[in-house]
């Protein structure tokens, strides 16, 4: 991969020269980044290690918070898969999270003897199927029309959960669905699992799911197609890409991931209510994603962690903590639209190229 410009080419593009020189100096760094963002990989590995080891050194309350934060984090990632990779802003993403959370609760209640991972995948798969169906309706629309359609879908699912109380428990929600003994794999059961066990169970499904979706989007031709369609849908069409199918597939991926997050949320909390499917929750996930940073695949997780931390610390001192959280969101959008991940990335870039 040489960047030597030959004499004939060089004068045509003088503006490129300083960059090319800089590139030669940091060629190895750039080469690594081209493929897999280096800073991203390092921080991902460190964070994942800390996350998995948390029950060994952190308090019960922290582990409890972390369990919720990772579920919300995956949910926020799934929202951002539609936003970052397809350029579409969903106002109804909680429909998939909530749908799968209720589905998981009902599955655990009725098929509690089956392995939990299987039930989680079933609930996530259900959300993905729902994504194919609802995606047909909304991904053909652009901009505000897409957002309005998803808003309507979100409102519909919230009403359904609220009104259909025979199944969903209405305003009371669902609880008591966790079996006394959790089947992890056939023949491997945990009786009255501890907080740490449940936490690790959640992580054992959540981390591979998040990594698989990342690999799909970052490394494969499919991920390339999604980016190509987002950057220039018209050109992609005239190059033979079925752009509707590409966007629908990405929407379905996001719906499935949101479903896995919702199902794990049900397992983690042993309680599901309309809080996990209402329109407020659909906007909360937008705030989490933007606060954390929509430009980086893992950015929204930062927002989810902050959200949980804020709900813990701020809510102890003021009942109006969401106002402060909302103000932080507004400030972030105005001052640093790349979110916290964006701020960190620009700081890293400055360090890396000095």
């Amino acid at each position: 991969m040489s960047h030597d410009s030959n004499a004939a080419f060089e004068p045509a593009i003088p503006a490129l020269r300083p960059k090319a020189e800089r590139r030669a100096k940091f060629g190895w760094l750039r080469a690594a980044r081209n493929e897999v963002d280096l800073s991203g990989t390092v921080s991902t590995v460190v964070l994942l290690g800390l996350l998995i080891a948390a029950p060994l050194f952190a308090s019960r309350a922290t582990v409890n918070d972390l369990g919720q934060a990772v579920c919300l984090g995956l949910f926020a990632i799934s929202f951002n898969i539609i936003f970052k990779y397809s350029g579409l802003l969903s106002f109804g993403h909680a429909a998939f999270f909530g749908f799968a959370a209720y589905a998981e609760a009902l599955l655990l209640e009725h098929y509690g003897n089956l392995p939990v991972p299987l039930l989680v995948l079933a609930a996530g798969g259900g959300a993905a199927l729902l994504g194919i169906f609802l995606g047909q309706i909304c991904v053909r629309r652009q901009g505000a029309y897409f957002s309005m359609t998803t808003l309507a879908i979100g409102a519909f699912f919230y009403s359904a959960a609220f009104k259909w109380s025979v199944v969903t428990g209405g305003t009371d929600g669902l609880d008591g669905f966790m079996p006394d003994s959790l089947t992890i794999l056939p023949g491997w059961q945990w009786d009255g699992p501890s907080l740490s066990q449940t936490y690790w169970l959640v992580l054992s499904i959540l981390i591979p799911a998040a990594l698989a979706a990342w690999a799909l989007l970052a490394l494969t031709p499919f991920g390339n197609a999604v980016r190509a369609v987002q950057q220039n849908e018209t050109r992609a069409k005239f190059l033979g890409y079925n752009t509707h199918v590409v966007k629908l597939a990405n929407f379905t991926l996001a719906a499935g991931l949101a479903g896995i997050a919702g199902a794990l949320w049900a397992v983690d909390n042993a309680f599901v209510s309309t809080d996990s499917i209402d329109l407020t929750f659909s906007t909360t996930v937008i705030i989490m994603a933007f606060l954390g940073g929509t430009g980086w695949y893992w950015g929204p997780v930062i927002g989810a962690v902050l959200y949980i931390a804020a709900s813990d610390w701020l809510s102890a001192s003021t009942p109006h903590w969401q106002i402060w959280f909302g103000l932080a969101f507004i400030a972030m959008v105005l001052v640093a639209p790349g979110g916290i991940a964006g701020l960190a990335a620009s700081a890293w870039r400055r360090l890396g190229l000095r």
Binding site: P221, F238, L239, Y241
Partner: protein, 251 residues
């Protein structure tokens, strides 16, 4: 010399908001033919390209590609049959490099564009092929440059590389020299003469040097109708054409 028609337009019409833009267009392109399409602004040239490639639906008439009706097919289906087009107003993947742009076309042609179980960077043949097409249009030294930093003339060439990389049977170029300097236009003519080969070409262009250098037949469009058609010499001798299109440029 093959003589089977590659593209046939039979009585194709199109209007926007009740205003007719194209009226009963008849056009036949034989295999291997290089056809220039000229006409004053507003004659309907870009609309005609959009009708052929599927950008807008026809109001009436039939469009056949290799004898097969394509009038009702969406753009991506027509492209997959072998119709590749460039754009008058540049339409590239602005956030990607030269190589990545061309790769998008190659992945699609090879049917690999939605694979989910292979690493894109490990599909070596695609990278090599993308570099090959970049080289064809003189972008071999700019493979890893982001499109945004490329000078305009180079972006024009990349547009053509995207079309070539699809190996289409019919190449449609919509004003490939638009916005280029005289020197850049001469380079472009040389590049196009070298790369088009035996493919069928439909070329829309205002720059008559480009048209004469690359076409063996010319169709003149005026107010949505075919005004004249023939060899370059015939067309430039045609009284109607001289009067309506070439105008004072000839006198």
């Amino acid at each position: 010399m093959m003589t089977a028609p590659v593209l046939e337009l039979q009585g194709v019409s199109k209007g926007f908001g009740g205003v007719p833009v194209l009226r009963g267009i008849e056009l036949t392109l034989l295999a291997g033919e290089r056809r220039g399409l000229i006409g004053p602004n507003g004659a309907g040239k870009t609309t005609l390209i959009n009708l052929i490639t599927g950008g807008v639906p026809a109001d009436a008439g039939n469009i056949l590609f290799r004898g097969r009706p394509i009038t009702a097919l969406p753009p991506h289906r027509r492209n997959r049959l072998g119709i590749g087009r460039s754009f008058q107003i540049l339409s590239l993947f602005a956030g990607m490099t030269v190589l990545e742009n061309i790769r998008n076309a190659i992945l699609r042609r090879r049917g690999l564009e939605t694979l989910i179980w292979r690493r894109l960077s490990r599909i070596e043949a695609v990278q090599a092929e993308a570099a090959h097409y970049a080289g064809l249009v003189g972008l071999g030294d700019a493979l890893h440059e982001p499109v945004e930093t490329l000078p305009y003339g180079m972006q024009r060439r990349l547009d053509i590389a995207l079309v070539l990389a699809q190996e289409p049977e019919l190449i449609i170029l919509d004003e490939p020299a638009a916005g280029l300097s005289a020197a850049e236009t001469r380079d472009l003519i040389a590049v196009l003469q070298a790369v088009i080969g035996e493919r069928t070409l439909l070329l829309v262009e205002h720059d008559m040097d480009v048209v004469y250098a690359l076409s063996d037949r010319i169709t003149v469009l005026d107010y949505g109708r075919v005004l004249a058609e023939g060899a370059p010499a015939e067309v430039s001798a045609n009284e109607d054409v001289r009067r309506i299109y070439l105008g004072e440029a000839v006198d």
